[in-house]
């Protein structure tokens, strides 16, 4: 499957695409969309016929909250995950038993690709629960037969103790958490000698950060990509060449488009990744606009596997990924509106402090919330911090600024200043 090429691959993709379009017909949204576009499953004869299909956007999925996009009866849905939630409602994704099996297979394939075997001891230091990274990797690693430690997040000293005591050879976590582990390990005075493989994902990390992580943790690191809408992580993964991520062509039909003109772009041209999963049962998606910016790499990979995408750094919308949690500026605006003591203009600064993402929000205090006392202000500040933590599940810093002091915008506001850049 991994090395399938040319005619053979295209035939498989076309067959699976037709199957997906057929299943999508069970979803009222797609039924209407396909009817309006005048596309029937039998119109899909070749892979290129995917271009006959309209795009699906994140907002469409939100409109179907909670189960509007399920193509199977709920009794066949054996698990749901949700995204961290944007303006109001999160996106709910469902899985049939077959879906979970496909997903585990995919993760196992990735882990095998980077040389892991049933001899390895795998610590899964990501959030378990609704976040797909936890259970996704957990079952994939079990499928491969590794010894899995579901350590989840938090208590870094304990995490380090487990790595040392259990002889952990492979670690999966966010790159910023890996950096934190490296620092704490240094303080404790362990070099984590058993670690050899690091799998990092769920947030962008620079080449510079990779270099430092590999030096500090003395391991080889691999980038992992995915999103809940494509099952979760594992949709694309770095092979040992570590020059781009193979996006699994038997499971996903990937396209790169210009996010503005929606024109389909060729290899080497940077644009938005659009994905049509080819094997999803519970929740088929047609030409899903991921919002992630990347490109197809022009050169074939020496490993012989299929198409690769460049490592991901940007988004076509203004979504922020803070410590693995998706945050939309519109969401922050929504939250601030619920706090009468502050205005709804704001600026978000994102920094990496001690290798962890820190979000600082500047917000204007409202004139009528100030009666001259300092505690009016601290109360308002705490209220905003609390509302943000409640809604985003993130600790943020809130800076109160003077009324009318933040920049006003006509049209699209520039509200985010991401200073993580290429720093560590």
């Amino acid at each position: 499957m991994e090395t399938l090429k040319g005619e053979e691959l295209h035939a498989l993709q076309a067959k699976r695409l037709r199957w997906t379009v057929e299943r999508a017909g069970n979803v009222p949204f797609y039924q209407k969309m396909l009817k309006e576009a005048g596309v029937r499953p039998e119109d899909i004869q070749t892979v290129d016929d995917v271009q006959k299909l309209p795009f699906t956007r994140k907002t469409d999925l939100q409109g179907g909250y909670p189960f509007g996009f399920m193509a199977v009866p709920m009794k066949e849905v054996v698990r749901i995950h949700t995204t961290s939630g944007t303006t109001g409602k999160p996106t709910v994704v469902g899985y049939t038993r077959q879906d979970l099996d496909n997903w585990s297979e995919l993760i196992a394939r990735n882990l095998t690709m980077i040389g892991l075997t049933d001899e390895d001891i795998f610590q899964n230091a990501v959030n378990y629960g609704l976040f797909t990274g936890g259970l996704g990797f957990h079952y994939g690693a079990e499928k491969l037969g590794m010894t899995v430690i579901p350590s989840a997040t938090g208590n870094t000293r304990r995490q380090i103790e487990m790595i040392d005591d259990f002889g952990v050879t492979a670690l999966h976590c966010t790159p910023s958490y890996a950096m934190h582990i490296a620092e704490v390990a240094e303080q404790i005075g362990t070099t984590l000698p058993t670690l050899k493989t690091g799998i990092f994902g769920a947030e962008p990390w620079s080449a510079n950060m990779r270099k430092v992580l590999e030096e500090k943790l003395r391991l080889t690191s691999y980038d992992s990509y995915g999103m809940s809408e494509m099952y979760g992580p594992g949709a694309a993964f770095e092979c040992p060449e570590r020059n781009g991520l193979h996006i699994w062509h038997d499971m996903y039909l990937a396209e790169i488009i210009d996010p503005k003109t929606e024109e389909v772009l060729g290899p080497g041209e940077r644009g938005e990744l659009v994905v049509t999963p080819l094997m999803k049962e519970a929740m088929p998606l047609l030409r899903y606009r991921t919002g992630d910016i990347t490109m197809f790499l022009e050169e074939d990979c020496p490993c012989g596997r299929g198409m690769k995408i460049a490592r991901l750094h940007g988004r076509s919308d203004d979504m922020l990924v803070i410590r693995g949690i998706n945050v939309f500026p519109s969401q922050i605006e929504h939250i601030l509106r619920s706090v009468p003591e502050v205005g709804d203009e704001f600026l978000v600064y994102v920094d990496r402090v001690n290798h962890l993402d820190e979000m600082t929000i500047e917000v204007e205090i409202n004139r009528n919330a100030f009666r001259g006392e300092l505690e009016d202000l601290t109360r308002a500040q705490n209220k905003v911090v609390g509302a943000l933590r409640e809604a985003l599940n993130l600790r943020t810093r809130v800076k109160l600024v003077e009324p009318d002091s933040l920049p006003r915008y006509e049209g699209k506001a520039k509200r985010v200043i991401d200073r993580r850049g290429d720093e560590l």
Partner: protein
Amino acid sequence: MDITKYTIKQISVFSENKPGRLAAIAGALQDEGINILAFSIAEANGFGVVRALVDLPEAAYKKLNAMGFMVSFTDVIAVKMRDVPGGLFEMASVLSEAEINIEYSYAYSGREAAVLILRVDRVDSAVEKILAHGGTLLSVDDFS
């Protein structure tokens, strides 16, 4: 007794904790020919409140407000301190016995004696008690 006479209008200005804010406030007051008699800064977590007693509170309020500052009046009292050991104790005891809470205070050296500015939870009772115990309060007129 005219308690309002002893109720001094302090201006309280919200200010971000960054260079130049105090200079902007003080400069604006200077431009208007307003004299600052006493002032203090209360600071918390990235911002603060500049509190000042000025000779022309209404004019100061108007000016700062027009400049976009967030300004508010706060009622305070100004106690003339006796320059002897126990002066502060005496005054604090009077308020404590009357169960009046001091929210904050700051001092400045007046022309004749040190002056303690007090923000209390019950201004009227504080004025009554202090005067009844023979304390001296500065009146609005002393500031203009």
